[in-house]
Amino acid sequence: MLESIIKAYNEAIFDTDRERALQVIHAALEQGVSPEDVVFKIVVPAIEQMVTSISENFDANLAQHFMTAQIAAEVTEEMLARFKSAPESVGRIIIGTAEGDLHSLGKRIVMGCLKAQMIEAVDLGVNVPAERFVDEAVARDAQVIGISAMMVHTARGEGGCRAVRRLLRERGLEKRIMIVVGGAPYRFDPELYRVVGADAWAENGIAAGRVIAGLIGEVRR
């Protein structure tokens, strides 16, 4: 039964048909599929499949990618309220785009994916100064700061990740708070994240979930 539901959900996602995707999910619940299975066996694998098809063939399509993450976040939000026991949050991340960068679509896609992977994300929006990243991470007791940068100068620049790293060092927070970065410049130069002082980078929302969970584990160790 689950197989045919997964197929129907994936077809709706392929057509970016939000209404139909939600119908499929609601019908599944009525048939007795648990909210947990909806998230972990239907929604998350659908994002994984999307990410794979984007990285493996040439059919990258922003509309599909965005809508998949958006629908995933919406379904997850609804399912969380119905989980039998309160879902265990993996941890918390402060997320925003680097100073000087106003591109936030990528960040929104990643946030949708993180939600489905039980990582709590606090969104600071765009053009976020380094001080604000650090202050909010401390105030909200987050283990990770996520910085998105879509342009070479905001990825490499002095006001972005480099400045956050400097502040963490100055305030003695480097063991408590890790930095993860994402965005096109990091994909084209896989060593760039080290150069700007990040602890890790992630290519997409699914990889981000894994990488961030790993960083949270390091902080808590």
Binding site: N57, F58, D59, L62, L102, V126, F188
Partner: protein, 535 residues
């Protein structure tokens, strides 16, 4: 020392090299600058070379991502990713980026010049003037007899700054990182203007020394880089809606380099704000956008598209950077609207298949922006593409064949995505300005489509996929290069600064990235369907 053997149409050349640099760097150093969209980080896939003999390192991750298997089999590689250790034989096609200046055909008759009595006075012996549209991708200029009000000649060619990257951000970043690069960027643009003028002088025999006036319009980044002034501010969002001073320190040395009258007035027409250049203001003048009751929209299609909406009282302006798809750049089978480009496509009857029209006739070498609009609209109405931009199941991963005979041309999923992004930026920008002005679709009387892309546009197709608002056909005007036409008006104007100041006084500049709801509008506008104009 190993050497590169470079095969070109003009013959072979041997370039000795010391291993360590990328092919792109080695070739650029030897006078073979190669197209690039990303300043050599492996992100754009434009710097293609074909390795014909010799040993090369295996493809990098970026190459595996950018190149299709059949390209690999042909020996194609990205010049910025290959670091050769030994000698190689390679071919570069398309030909390396050396500005070849083509005659610029006169556009459809533009607005009339000011009456002779209204024109700026001409000093004796310097009765020639030049209008320049300094674009990110192309430079276009025209030479005028100022006394007679007569166009003498025109040229168009590639902006050689493309060496640093196809978009303005890469060039600004390069200029900010190194004073030398900033100087080189300015020199490249200056020299290109000089080369175009020399080409006119050599082929048409005019005397450059008689040029007493040069007017230049462009987007803010082009003007700032040319003037070597304030380009750093353009990387800061706070300045995107503020005036940026792009006046050069002096232009006497430019005049002597160009061989024009040493006292010639070289005027860089100042941009309105960080990302709204004087090219847009010139376009507004040329189309007389503000000359009648409200409801007039201007879209200047380019790599950095600009949009203006006149509502009768306020000129709403913005820029919408959606990538270079309209210029045929970044599209696997794309090319600029030049001879050899497919510019119109119709469904063949009986189906299936397409009937293509090629600029200049002859064999098609690629597809330009207007052809792309047609093919996407046709595939969409045939059900081969869905609204989200995905191919139906019967299309394999290579894509759809636009042409099979005389050179296979394929359109793939990534091409569609690139086009959707460019289209979405325009659609969202248009809708944003409409919302801010409070106008609704029914009040939109004119839609002026500007830029080389618009010349061949099939309006119903463009409307069916949401590139243009659905106003009645007679309301859509294909205006061609209105930035150059406006620059020509200003060349004759007695009061350039007054004219521009009057426009600037009514303008409100919007930064789309900060406009509420822009992202939702952008995502909605990715879809291939008519533009939804009313909220």
């Amino acid at each position: 020392m190993p050497y590169l053997r470079v095969r070109t149409e003009a013959g072979d050349r041997r370039i000795p090299f010391t291993p360590g640099g990328t092919l792109r760097e080695l070739l650029a150093g030897a006078g073979f600058p190669i197209r690039s969209g990303c300043a050599g980080v492996g992100a754009c896939g434009l710097c293609l070379v074909r390795i014909e003999a010799g040993e090369v390192p295996p493809p990098t991750e970026n190459e595996l991502r950018m190149l299709r298997p059949e390209q690999m089999r042909r020996g194609e590689r990205l010049a910025c990713q290959v670091v050769p250790a030994r000698g190689l034989t390679l071919a570069i096609d398309p030909a390396p980026l050396c500005p070849a200046w083509l005659s610029l055909p006169a556009d459809a008759p533009g607005p009339p010049l000011p009456a002779p009595a209204e024109r700026r006075a001409v000093a004796g012996g310097t009765s020639l003037g030049v209008a320049v549209d300094l674009g990110t991708t192309h430079i276009r200029l025209t030479l005028w007899d100022l006394a007679q009000g007569k166009r003498l000649s025109g040229r168009t060619g590639a902006n050689p700054q493309a060496l640093f990257g196809s978009d303005v951000m890469t060039r600004l970043t390069a200029a900010c990182a190194s004073r030398e690069d900033a100087a080189q960027l300015a020199r490249l643009a200056r020299d290109a203007i000089g080369a175009a003028l020399s080409d006119i002088a050599a082929r048409e025999g005019c005397r450059l020394a008689e040029i007493g006036r040069v007017a230049i319009v462009g987007n803010s980044a082009m003007l700032a880089l040319l003037a070597q002034r304030n380009y750093d501010l353009l990387l800061k969002p706070a300045y995107w809606t503020r005036a940026i001073d792009c006046r050069p320190e002096g232009t006497a040395s430019w005049c002597s380099a160009w061989g024009i009258d040493p006292r010639a007035a070289v005027e860089l027409l100042q941009p309105l704000a960080g990302f709204v250049g004087s090219d847009l203001l010139a376009g507004v003048l040329a189309t007389r956008l503000t000359g009648e009751p409200g409801g007039a929209l201007l879209i200047d299609f380019g790599t950095n598209s600009e949009i203006a909406l006149w509502d009768g009282a306020t000129l709403w302006v913005t820029s919408a950077a959606g990538g270079p798809a309209f210029e045929g750049c970044g599209i696997s089978c794309g090319m600029p609207a030049e001879p050899g480009a497919i510019y119109r496509i119709e469904a063949q009857r009986p189906a299936p298949g397409f009937r293509c029209e090629v600029i200049g006739g002859g064999r098609a070498q690629g597809i330009c922006g207007s052809g792309l609009v047609d093919i996407i609209a046709l595939l969409r109405s045939a059900g081969v593409l869905n609204g989200a931009g995905s191919f139906s199941a019967e299309v394999d991963s290579r894509g759809v064949a636009i042409q099979e005979q005389g050179g296979l041309l394929l359109l793939n999923g990534r091409d569609i995505d690139g086009f959707q992004r460019a289209k979405a930026a325009i659609g969202a920008g248009t809708r944003c300005l409409m919302q801010l002005s409070g106008l609704h679709l029914g009040q939109l009387k004119r839609v002026c489509v500007c830029g080389a892309f618009g010349r061949f546009l099939h309006v119903p197709n463009a409307q069916s996929i949401g590139l243009l608002p659905e106003v009645p056909a007679e309301g859509v005007e294909l205006c061609g290069n209105s930035a150059l036409a406006g620059c020509e008006l200003l060349l004759f104007s007695r009061d350039i600064s007054g004219t521009l100041a009057a426009l600037a006084g009514r303008a409100r500049t919007i930064n789309l990235a900060q406009a509420p709801g822009f992202e939702e509008l952008f995502v909605e506008s990715l879809y291939l369907r008519p533009l939804r104009m009313d909220p």
